[in-house]
């Protein structure tokens, strides 16, 4: 079994805040991440795919096709953007790194079968929010 991972980079800003809590509770829970005007990170997103190595190409996935999909549906809309304001999914979802992985997975799955009708499978999304924070989300088949 072969897994191929490509990494993408973009800067964005966000604010962690939920309408389910009071302002005081948000400040207590999220601390500096709840400051009213938000703050930014240099995000690194890892996209891992799994599948057989195709005999004719020697590749699991066409890296260019993967790059085009991730660029158009993830990087371009999120780069240099305020995630809370510009990414509709965060309208009622806290813009944590965990939820960012969920949103990126949804966006990639939405067009995955159209772009890769013969595979490979999307298998994992990793996000490094800072050099000290990393989350990894397995993608259910």
């Amino acid at each position: 079994m072969m897994r191929v991972t490509r990494c993408y980079h973009f800067p964005a800003n966000h604010r962690l805040h939920t309408p389910l809590l009071s302002d005081a509770e948000n400040a207590e829970l999220f601390g500096k991440c709840n400051y009213p005007f938000g703050h930014g990170h240099n995000y690194t997103v890892e996209i891992a795919v799994e599948g057989p190595v195709r005999a004719e190409t020697g590749q699991v996935v066409d890296p260019g096709a993967l790059d085009r999909l991730v660029q158009s549906d993830v990087v371009a809309p999120m780069a240099h953007a305020n995630l809370n304001c510009k990414i509709p999914e965060f309208g009622d979802l806290v813009a944590t790194t965990e939820n960012l992985a969920v949103v990126i997975e949804q966006r990639l799955r939405a067009r995955w079968d159209e772009v890769f009708p013969e595979g490979p499978a999307l298998c994992r999304i990793g996000i490094r929010e800072t050099l000290n924070n990393y989350i990894s989300k397995a993608v259910a088949r």
């Binding site: 079994m1 897994r3 890296p63």
Partner: protein, 136 residues
């Protein structure tokens, strides 16, 4: 339990299928198909899985693993043009996927065990591109 050892090597390659025209190869592989080749600083990580020996406390002697990775891979790949100098890449396209399979093929016979078995060959071609092979 798993233990991982890392080595680095530098090599040239070109991604090009003999069954395609130069234009078709450029369309498929992009600049990786540029006719005179190009190079990467590769990072190879080999992970062995097993149970620590009760006497040595080790799954595998890291020195032995390092020497194997050096003799089986680095000594033949490092500072070589893979397509021209390192079989089977005269006939097998040296994508990182095919390189990982070849590295696995070279290392696997040294881990027949159940005590220590080859778990993963991870080959990093650039900071943003790596493959992991877990055997067939």
């Amino acid at each position: 339990m798993q233990i991982t050892r890392r080595v680095d090597f530098c090599a040239s390659h070109i991604l090009s299928s003999p069954s395609l025209s130069p234009e078709e190869n450029l369309a498929r592989y992009g600049p990786e198909a540029n006719p005179h080749g190009h190079g990467h600083n590769y990072t190879l990580e080999v992970t062995v899985e097993g149970t620590p020996d009760p006497v040595t406390g080790m799954i595998v002697d890291l020195k032995v693993l390092k020497d194997l990775m050096t003799s089986e891979v680095v000594d033949s790949f490092d500072h070589r043009f893979l397509n021209h100098e390192v079989p089977p890449f005269d006939t097998v396209i040296p994508t990182p996927e095919n390189m990982a399979i070849e590295i696995w093929r070279r290392l696997a016979p040294h881990f027949p065990g159940p005590v220590a078995r080859l778990h993963c060959v991870r080959l990093q071609e650039t900071d943003d591109y790596f493959v992991e092979y877990f055997g067939s």
